[in-house]
Subunit: 739 residues, 2 copies
């Protein structure tokens, strides 16, 4: 197929996906909204969520605006000084970078807001559908989730493509080559919003969860999601603002940043192709976007395979769609690599065509994605050794439960690191033997990343399925729906827990692959600046370009140490923020129990709105410190220790962040499911009696679950964002670190 057609296909696929998202949203909204009681509670949740999002995104919007101005000023001044000219090139670059930042921030915010609004509407409709049919409930939840999934991937694709076009990227020649560097601001804008969205939402959701559980379940002895608990609406709101809006922003950033990183590496191959006289050298730069476009189409097709039997395990229904996406993605990779990677007959090692090597690298990415789905399942599902081990340890109380959970969390880093290591080595090896030399090696890892991310829209839909069904269950419980409906929402909720865990594994793996690629992009960016300075005479040629990141340099080592520390310190702040906010909720709910008469016998109505308001304020206040620390640290290190040290910070920060996030996500998931394992009556004492709900083992399990909450839903996901923020902030701010 003509590679030019494939390039045109990028905006077409993006617009198609947006249209499909609108279709899905309309379909969800047209569904039955259930009983009056369901509609009432849904309206209350909606109100709380909208209030939080409004306040949160106003804050984030203002921060982003300020950020764009700061970026404009810094980049303009530095670029002007660096090229030592008077032609306003520097100011032009400053405007382009600041503008791209603002656009990235705006797109990310749009995705977060729309995705969240749709999922709030989907919740009650899933609860209503659950009164009739499991399959229908699955479909509504998955379609609601897919709105967010498609919007995120499509907007990130369209956004990157548009700025690329605005910066002259479609013209071929030098503009095409320079354009990827000008759009890094877009990725930074997306990271910036994602950081605060994930932190604020993550703190909100877990503080509300932990706070209302402790004061309701533990202190007052009433069930979860019981309407007498004034914190329960805040808890339900939290699922939407944390899990939906937060993860959406997280993966929006991933896709944007990785598109850009891969395109920058494509520039390296472009230069090679130009020199070798291959046809269509720009195809190497467009390649990542085309892959993404085909991933979107594969996912659209897969949405029609989400059907099954009423008696089927809902996980199987979702898996069917995932496999359709994966297989279609693999097939389209054949088409894309064959069409776009025309080397004019030049081959890689052993006479094998170049495109076959990169097809291999893309499949390594897809395989990594599948591997992570199963690895996460092994470590966090109740059918395997790790969760059972934690449940067994619960017999001797909360202390042994925690010790076992931490041990499992630490253990999960092994298979995670080894899988990522193999993926990197394999894709690098394939690229290096493709006939493109060392440039090919790095590009091989980029292709693997792209392959892995082809299924993003589907994975994100599965992820949002989690909070939607969680909320549907809450609405069913709160509105005291019939047992049949609650039974279905419970089953969906359990599946939702698994899909949420899977997405985190997926996000981690993609962040690690991306890190290596964004890291290479950083080196390219630094060398671009150094080269320009040498050409302009503001730097002596003897200083040379950056060819390595030398860990034996004391500045680099100290920066690496700071990076590994940042990951812990940032998590500490995020976890503490949950504790502080939860404390505020506990105090307020206790006050309401005490002061509002008749709450306990359902004659008095708790003041839900007040708890929502308190949680909102506290979460927004608490997100500031970790957010500022994350943004400031790389800049301070860069200013003090220079650009090579920043490279060390970036790389070691990624490694440390990815592994700590793995520990936090998986231990949290395993604790959650160990509690569920005990609740399901599968844990037996030495005489074969069931140790179920209310047993000491169960109490220990509840402690583990509560500890895991801020781990897996606040600190862990925020670390994904931090890792990518480090990459985008250093890419944009690179001129600041070069003296």
């Amino acid at each position: 197929m003509d590679p030019n057609f494939l390039q045109v296909f990028i905006p077409i696929a993006g617009l198609l996906a947006v249209g499909f998202a609108i279709y899905l949203a309309r379909d969800v909204l047209s569904r039955d909204t259930g009983t009056q009681a369901m509609m009432d509670v849904s309206a209350t949740i909606n109100e709380g969520a909208v209030a939080f999002i409004k306040r949160q995104y106003t804050t984030i919007g203002l921060l982003a605006l300020a950020g764009s101005v700061v970026i404009f000023v810094i980049i303009s001044v530095l670029e002007t000084a660096s090229v030592a000219d008077t032609s306003h090139v520097g100011v032009d670059i400053g405007i382009r970078t600041g503008g791209a930042f603002l656009l990235g921030a705006a797109c990310s915010m749009t995705c977060g807001i729309i995705g969240m609004l749709v999922s709030v509407k989907a919740n009650v409709r899933v609860a209503a559908a659950a009164r009739r049919s499991l399959v229908e409930a699955v479909q509504v939840a998955m379609r609601g989730g897919a709105v967010s999934g498609f919007l995120v991937v499509a907007l990130s694709l369209l956004g990157v493509w548009s700025i690329f076009a605005i910066n002259g990227g479609l013209s071929g020649g030098d503009s095409t080559k320079d354009a990827p560097f000008l759009i890094v601001g877009y990725g930074f804008g997306a990271s910036f919003v994602a950081l605060f969205a994930q932190l604020g939402g993550g703190i909100y959701t877990k503080a509300a969860d932990v706070g209302s559980d402790l004061v309701g379940k533990v202190e007052a002895g009433i069930p979860e999601d019981d309407p007498r608990n004034a914190g329960v609406i805040a808890d339900l709101v939290g699922d939407n603002v944390g899990d939906c809006a937060g993860r959406g922003a997280d993966l929006f950033e991933s896709t944007a940043a990785e598109n850009i990183g891969a395109m920058i590496l494509g520039v390296g191959v472009y230069a090679l192709a130009l020199k070798a006289g291959w046809p269509n050298p720009t195809a190497w730069i467009f390649f990542p976007l085309v892959v993404r476009a085909f991933g979107l189409v594969s996912t659209i097709v897969a949405m029609f395979f989400i059907r099954g039997k009423e008696t089927e395990n809902p996980m199987n229904i979702l898996n069917r769609g995932y496999w359709v996406t994966t297989i279609l993605s693999a097939l389209s990779l054949v088409l894309i690599t064959y069409s776009m990677m025309n080397t004019n007959g030049a081959t890689g090692d052993n006479g094998i065509p170049t495109w076959i090597y990169f097809l291999g690298a893309g499949c390594v990415g897809l395989a990594t994605s599948v591997a992570f789905v199963y690895i996460t399942q092994y470590y966090t599902a109740g059918t395997f050794r790790p969760v059972k081990e934690i449940a067994e340890a619960s017999k001797t109380g909360p202390a042994t439960n925690i010790i076992a959970g931490v041990s499992v969390g630490f253990e999960t880093t092994a298979v995670t690191a080894i899988t990522i290591g193999i993926a990197l080595l394999a894709s690098n090896w394939l690229g290096a033997h493709s006939g493109l030399g060392s440039v090919g090696g790095v590009f091989g890892t980029a292709v693997a990343t792209m392959g892995m991310l082809m299924t993003t829209a589907y994975v994100l839909a599965m992820d949002t399925f989690g909070p939607i069904t969680d909320n549907a269950g809450g609405i069913a419980e709160f509105s005291r729906a019939e047992a049949g409906a609650r039974d279905i929402t419970d089953r969906l909720d359990a599946v939702g827990n698994t899909t949420k865990a899977l997405t985190k594994g997926y996000a981690i793996a993609s962040a690690s692959l991306a890190a290596f690629l964004l890291f290479s992009a950083y080196i390219d960016k630094v060398n671009l600046i150094l080269g320009r300075q040498i050409a302009a005479g503001t730097r002596t040629a003897a200083d040379g370009l950056m060819t390595s990141v030398n860990l034996a340099n004391v500045n680099v080592f100290v920066a690496a140490l700071i990076a590994a520390m940042l990951v812990y310190f940032f998590s500490s702040l995020a976890i503490r923020a949950v504790g502080t906010t939860a404390q505020a909720i506990i105090v307020e709910v206790r006050r309401q129990f005490r002061e509002i008469p008749g709450i306990m016998d359902y004659t008095g109505r708790p003041d839900y709105a007040r708890v929502v308001d308190i949680t909102t304020r506290a979460a927004l206040r608490e997100m500031m410190l970790p957010g500022v620390v994350a943004v400031a640290t790389p800049i301070i290190v860069g200013l003090l220790l220079g650009y090579e040290a920043v490279a060390g910070l970036l790389m070691v920060g990624t490694i440390a962040g990815v592994l700590l996030a793995t520990v936090l996500n998986n231990s949290g998931g395993a604790w959650d499911n160990a509690k569920k394992y005990i609740e399901s009556g599968q844990l037996l004492d030495e005489n074969g009696n069931v140790l179920g709900k209310k047993s000491l083992a169960h109490q220990a399990g509840v402690v583990g679950d509560t500890v895991g909450d801020p781990f897996k839903d606040t600190a862990g996901p925020s670390l994904h964002v931090l890792v990518k923020l480090l990459a985008t902030i250093t890419l944009v701010m690179a001129p600041l670190f070069i003296r």
Copy 2:
């Protein structure tokens, strides 16, 4: 002073310290052994400890023997192949390396065994002294601890010096230059023993602690150290085999490895001095050992300042000695740097003599040591914010207690990393401006490390003070001694907790500084081999030497990822081992409660020996897997990914290990003291009532303390050893990674 005299002073100071240790041991042994009940329980503890140590050190000895043979074979074959000659030089190097390994292992084992034996004898004498006088009890405990402290530092000094002498290091010229590389085996032997000693001892002590607490305090509701609990003797034995023998081996390794690393860096300066024609170039190689020798003498003097009033806080008495050691060390640094660093009038920047720069670097090290003492105190003592925060969080149950503790543990990495970073940058800056160029920079960090380690013997004595007083308290409780004596042992025990925490902070800081220095030594070693191969024609000169560790190389990045993972995986295995072993103890004690009649009313005697035996077997079995993983991983990575990747593994493994150890040690220490804070009645509820023992907050505090046990006493200290093992194993095995 004549630098040659200072060199002669090395063996003199070493022998003096050994003599002083013998004097202290005799003094301790001559003391009153208390009541018959005390002597009985002491004898039982002694029996259990000796049984464990005998079995453990037999196992370790056999492993070390096998290790030395493997090393001999590998090094002989590789060195022979590498120099491509037939003169048996390779075999000679193999014998020297294997022999050094065996000597290092033997010295480490000797220190562990003697230190442990003396501390077991000291326990009962401290308990007896506590019946009369606080100051006497402090003195006996401190003198018992100092036996271990002096032996460790003196044997490591004498050992390194002797092998240095055997390898012709005293002759001057080329032999002196090459000798430091030949003694790396000594450090590896010490690391190897330390790894298994710390793992086995750490698993034993915490499994016995956690197991007997859970089955006694929690299940049966009897106090800690109650004679009815069959696990209590195992618990008391554990303090000796874990805290005394384990930490002794840990710091023996530190001092040995760091001596060697600093000497290797001294070789770099030696070459410089030779070229510049400075007098006494070999002084630069001897310098680290002379510093160590003066540190020993300073500590001997300080031992005579351990006196005070009966009413004084015992911590002040110990601090007095610490400050005497620090000040004498600083003064002797002036003497050493002035005498040994003769640059023939050549100066550093601004005309300041070279030796003043290095005096500054040494003082940076001493200051770092002091800083860590206070940092650790801030984070783990009940008088400051972090511990109070955890105690407050305990009010809402074990979950919030755990969340707060993890948050504090994560937070402590910030000030740790920043302090280490400043120490490295400052000492590197001083060295780089001393007139020695970039060689001086690295040597500056070596001098800082030496400065920091001058106080090792004293710090180690304070550390061993901890388990001795802990045991003395146990003996007093077990033998139902009079209240006055128990009151004194309680006060000493609390101080002991602080000193144990301090030592860990100290060990962490020294490990980080050492890492940078051993890392540079690794690069020197690799280049020595590469250079020899190039000279011998087995490698082309175009390949060049190793000048950087390029993180952007995919092999290096993957190795770094594996290293960061190893740290978690190893900790996971260590923590799980405690859980598994504790489970075995719980089952046995439960059985005894059930099957031995009259235990509860003191008419039946529990079978203590059986629990000791079960714990011994389980701990030795469980130490194997983490031990083997730690030794095998760097070798496998080196074989698969090459020598540059190993450098990445070493560096990132150090960073990750140091920070995770910080998290584990400090969260554990903070949890422990939060429990003590609650027990002391300082925690109040909202109405001002005390939430003391038996309150819900206290139960939550006990959970945190139990979780912290394997963190701070098994995994954390084992990580110190792992970090240094990575350095020594890669130094010795370097020829294996070069192809």
